[in-house]
Amino acid sequence: MISQLSPGERRGALVLSCLVGCAGLAMAILGRDDPLGGQGAVVMAFALACAGTVSHGYFTPAPSPASRAAYYDDPTRAGIVLAMIWAVVAMAVGDWVAWLLVAPDLTFDAGWSSFGRLRPVHTSGVIFGFGGNALIATSFYVVQRTSRARLPDQLSPWFVLIGYNLFCVLAATGYLMGITQSKEYAEPEWYADIWLVIVWVTYLLLYLRTLARRKEPHIYVSNWYFLAFILVVAVLHIVNNLAVPVSWGHAKSYSAFSGVQDAMTEWWYGHNAVAFFLTSGFLGMLYYFMPKRAGRPVFSYRLSIISFWGITFMYMWAGSHHLHYTALPQWVQTLGMTFSLMLLVPSWASATNALLTLNGAWHKVRDDATLRFMMTAAVFYGLTTFEGSFMAIRPVNSLSHYTDWTIGHVHAGALGWVALITFGAFYSIVPQLWGRRAMHSARLVEVHYWLAIAGTVVYVISMWNSGIVQGLMWRTYNDSGTLAYSFVDSLVAMHPYYTLRAIGGFMFLAGTAVGAWNIWKTMQAEAPVAALDLVDAPIHPDLQPAE
């Protein structure tokens, strides 16, 4: 991995590692009486590992100019491995958390394993660890091939990938130490947030620089989506995390917003994280890997345009539907609800565009589990966006809000859409990236598919039931006009559904483990196949970097 870096880049990597290590040292010293000190130690250990890796390959021969004529896929390979590691770990934590709700004693009386600390490890681990790494890895892969241009340098993609994973590690370890700013999906504290800004801006610049080098006259749809994902996530992250730390030596900070403004900022962020992280980015993935795998042209270019701008424009307004019937002024709720309803049309247009792309290739969907992963993902995308718009309607929301229905909805999207499209993309490119003809075992891809589908269905249906039962119990009155059930009564009623959900989650986790094993075995396989580069159109010769 270091051997592909030019001598100057190796120097740069070493300097960066040292700078990060110094920052970690400063955190450890300034925060010695605070959990921040522990985070400083994590940063130092991380930087040390990076410096060690760079030093280890520092004096390997400089890469040949010829190697610059191929796409640069090392960061993509590393990103896929990291994504699968995060997937297995974070889904395992998720299932643990699910069992905690069945049997609360499973914390084993430790502070770090309490529900409140483990739950964000699960959510950040799957969304940012698994999803984020998958997006970075596939976006590097797609932007190069659809632009017929190599990434502009070798250092910045590694900086983005490794730096991003440092953020994820800080987040997860911080939660276990009890650090959180208590904003859902934005729990990491100020120092991790600042670091992510640096990484993310580098990512944006890297993406723009690659696009600027493109030899194709037009920018492919996937790149619109990836670019929207990168750009908007930067804006969301910066605004929602505006905060003032207690001091340089404290992990704790106070938000720049207060009261209902803070709530609105948080859900503007939260809902657009769903929109631009979990939707736009993965639509970018879908628009490349699905037509590629199916061998069919995209159904309609015009439909892609309508849905892209529809989604990009309308999602921005929808966040306030998370705050129906709260202190938020009603007019803001009205806007959130109506835009959520209009949003359904471009969302379904995207799903339709994906499914109609499969016309002429449905026999492949039947035979090829990889393509079936992607097809099913598009179906779940359609189902979830319909459900989302439905739940944004105020009277519906009065039943569904604060119940497990929301959890079911999120997992229909996260498992059925985000994870399935990612697995489809990974199974498409892993053999090529490691120089094999096919995955180690096609049967195991099938096994993974059915475990994932069964797990998702069990999970989602149990949470629908649970959520609706919960919502109804909370609003049922007796003849005297007082509540018929106590909160504990509703928990007792949830118990069987919680058990079912944990079983469904376990099935999904088992599928992911099978997938990770299969990918691992594919990487290990003997005798790489030569000349696999022919799978892709070559980099345009005019675009050789001046060496």
């Binding site: 490349y288 309609s300 009603q330 049309v345 892709d536 159109a537």
Partner: protein, 292 residues
């Protein structure tokens, strides 16, 4: 550069572009997309006209229906309170005995009390009011502060060792830690106390430590627990029955005597209404009656 081709399967032309083998058809946007875009937009516009919707300077468009969620919820709450007033008034003002004699009203007490208890009391006293170590069972006949509805209502109102100015106060001194009794005396009094509630105690009723314990008891414990150890009704429990707040085994009693005890029950005045507190008092009395 752009060379449009006809896709043999769908019959549509491509846009003529290609990215690493991926092409796009130039298929027109299906009509339903426009129809639904229009319909949802239309719905939105109508909704905006009827409901509070768009900010205008320092105010916002109020909507033709004049709906306001704060007014709506306030009037709903007022109506609900008015509906309930028919019986809450009686619960607040009538004698406990009079309420207990009214089967219809007691049914309301049972319905409402169950939820009130579940949401406010069950966390400490248990879902079935069975209690636990340090939290008394509320289904027994043993009440530290009196088991009449009026006594219970007062305990709920002021709490025990709480922040309320009229709080009920009780403390079991730390006889051991504060060196009021030595170890031998403590062990003796434990033997004596245990013999009171266990008619067939293995040591028999006259073994020497028990006799010694009787003396210790008379000199140190009787002021609160009474000469006969049956309690005197001010938070000092009856030691002759089978109910133990912190455990009646020798080990627990040793801890109690060594370190003392000071239980805590919060005040509910200000958190629950008068009617709610009276309902809970009646509910617990009623539950005890139906528990053998």
């Amino acid at each position: 550069m752009a060379v449009e081709e006809r896709d043999p399967h769908s019959g549509y032309l491509t846009t003529g572009h290609e990215w690493n083998g991926i092409k796009e058809l130039n298929t027109p946007v299906p009509r339903p997309v426009y129809v639904f875009l229009l319909l949802t937009a239309l719905f939105a516009v109508v909704y905006w006209v009827l409901m509070p919707a768009w900010p205008v300077g320092r105010t916002y468009t109020k909507g033709l229906l004049g709906v306001d969620q704060r007014t709506a919820v306030t009037s709903l709450l007022r109506d609900a309170a008015a509906d309930r007033a028919a019986w809450t008034k009686r619960i607040e003002t009538a004698d406990f005995a009079e309420i207990q004699a009214d089967p219809a009203l007691m049914q309301t007490v049972r319905d409402t009390g169950r939820t009130l208890f579940g949401d406010n009391c069950a966390a400490c006293h248990g879902r079935e009011a069975q209690g636990g170590r340090g939290f008394p069972t509320l289904t027994s006949q043993s009440w530290l502060w009196g088991g009449d509805p009026a006594d219970i209502a007062e305990t709920i109102r002021v709490g025990i060792n709480s922040s309320h100015k009229d709080t009920r106060t009780s403390q079991m001194p730390a006889f051991g830690r504060d060196k009021l009794l030595d170890r031998q005396q403590i062990e003796a009094v434990i033997a004596y106390v245990r013999s009171l509630s266990q008619a067939t105690a293995s040591q028999g009723g006259t073994a020497p430590p028990i006799e010694a314990g009787r003396e210790v008891f008379a000199g140190n414990c009787a002021p609160c627990h009474g000469e006969d150890a049956k309690g005197i009704g001010a938070g000092a429990p009856d030691l002759t029955d089978s109910f133990w707040l912190y455990g009646g085994d020798a080990d627990s009693l040793y801890r109690t005597l060594m370190h003392g005890r000071q239980g805590h029950m919060p005040t509910w005045e200000g958190r629950l209404t008068l009617a709610d507190r009276r309902i809970l008092a009646l509910y617990l009395t009623d539950m005890r009656r139906s528990t053998p």
